[in-house]
Symmetry: C2
Subunit: 319 residues, 2 copies
Amino acid sequence: MGKPVIAVDAMGGDYAPSEVVKGAVEAARDLDVQIALVGPEETVRSELEQCSANQTNISLCHAEETIGMEEEPVRAIRRKKESSIVRGMNLLRGGEASAFVSGGSTGAMVAGALLIAGKKKGISRPALGIIFNSPNGPVLFLDVGANSDCKPQHLVQFAQMGIVYMQRIHGVPAPRVGLLSNGEEETKGNKLAQSTYHMLLKNQPNFVGNIEGTELPRGQADVVVTDGFTGNVVVKLSEGLARIFADMSSSGEAGHEGSNFHEAERRILDYTSLGGALLLGIEGNVVITHGKSDASAIKRAIGIAEQMVKQRVMETIGT
Amino acid sequence: MGKPVIAVDAMGGDYAPSEVVKGAVEAARDLDVQIALVGPEETVRSELEQCSANQTNISLCHAEETIGMEEEPVRAIRRKKESSIVRGMNLLRGGEASAFVSGGSTGAMVAGALLIAGKKKGISRPALGIIFNSPNGPVLFLDVGANSDCKPQHLVQFAQMGIVYMQRIHGVPAPRVGLLSNGEEETKGNKLAQSTYHMLLKNQPNFVGNIEGTELPRGQADVVVTDGFTGNVVVKLSEGLARIFADMSSSGEAGHEGSNFHEAERRILDYTSLGGALLLGIEGNVVITHGKSDASAIKRAIGIAEQMVKQRVMETIGT
């Protein structure tokens, strides 16, 4: 098997194209991958020149359009055939790339994945997952926004996909599954959570029960499932609180220039700088990087994509 | 009008009865209230003696049972007629008290309020609200757990109740209403949020639209509504993250005993120490204190109850 081909959207994210290209160049240098940079050829080429990149494992895939963050996702995917997201998804569909990494609009990435790359056979609803680093190790939390309204069987499938990811990428032999709810007892939850509870209890030997909001950050389970509405609120709230708390820490300095405060601030923010969201259940490995990703975050995301390809995450899901 | 009578559950909360009685004694000393301490007479009397309390504005209401945190709420309310929660709710129902403050089981308080004090006329679903102190001022967030499954019209009523509270207690003349959702655009949200959006747009002149998780802590609205499942997850997650972040700040100290770190930690935790939840839409003013409340938190909660009575919050809701 040759090097895995990872398509990287040169135009996705707040610091694109320069930080993305830089991160891709570093990944090409240090990882066992072949990178296809997707974007306007001239722009990308001039960025590559600025990095003095001469790696042979970077190729270019021309895409002259960009989908903006504010564009309606489905319409943008349908209309902008020459956009970097549509091009990247076409590389997945055609088998020219095994993974696609982009910091573009999450909505457009999800729409593009569904409309172009397509759902994995056997999966009814692909889900967006994030990894957060709890004091007890990494936790995969999903869905964080691909499906605003869910049925219990969708959440059960999210758990199955999450198990594959945690086994293959984090080497957890028997990932524990938790269900986000508004109380520990099995009688707690809205109708969706209550029905899901009973289905997981029946189908998942490693189901550890309901996880409350208070306990979620502690890492009592390796995979925690919820609907995409609640999951999105949870992830965005965590980010918002991290910023507020970091502000509180640094304004507490009161003129005293201690590096410890910056250290605390950095750790608080790191907690929620999740490296990238994974779209699981697609015919291809899809990683969506955070809009604020710098070169090293892009490189890490490419590393995750590499592992997903090598560990056959996509192939194992839904089988 | 005489002093408002506030019933206080002497047995509610982790530090009951001592901290509760201490807080009640301080409130009786400093506030214009008459306090009815509900609990086992002997226990409460001995606590009062330890405070050397001789206020004439404290009376006792004997209740020999206590409802535990783990008891099934409705069953506990039906069976434990002599419990402090049932007694307190009966004081509201009989008009002997205008407000009831308790740090007991939230579930039992909600069940007791519904079954004994009863819903306010015109209100279909009472809701549990909390106030958090955003950088832009206090925000009332509801429902945080009274109704796990909601309909759009319930959320619209939560907004109406929240407006009354913010006008009467915080003096905000025209409270801005926001809807928690997974995106700013009106097309975002699950089915519940989307329908609620359109109802609020039609009925609430001060509706400011969707509020994302990232923005929730910033205080872009004075009242933010959501269903009780999502609201509960949000409040508990905030508490869990505050603890994790505070741990991160203090372990960053690395042997360096600076008071600044403790200050930051204290502020992070204060952010989520919400003083008390309000159960709005009941025939009576109900304040549920946090389980970890000390005497000064109990006193603050009694002060909130006093203001709710004087500002006629309960009477104004639903009219």
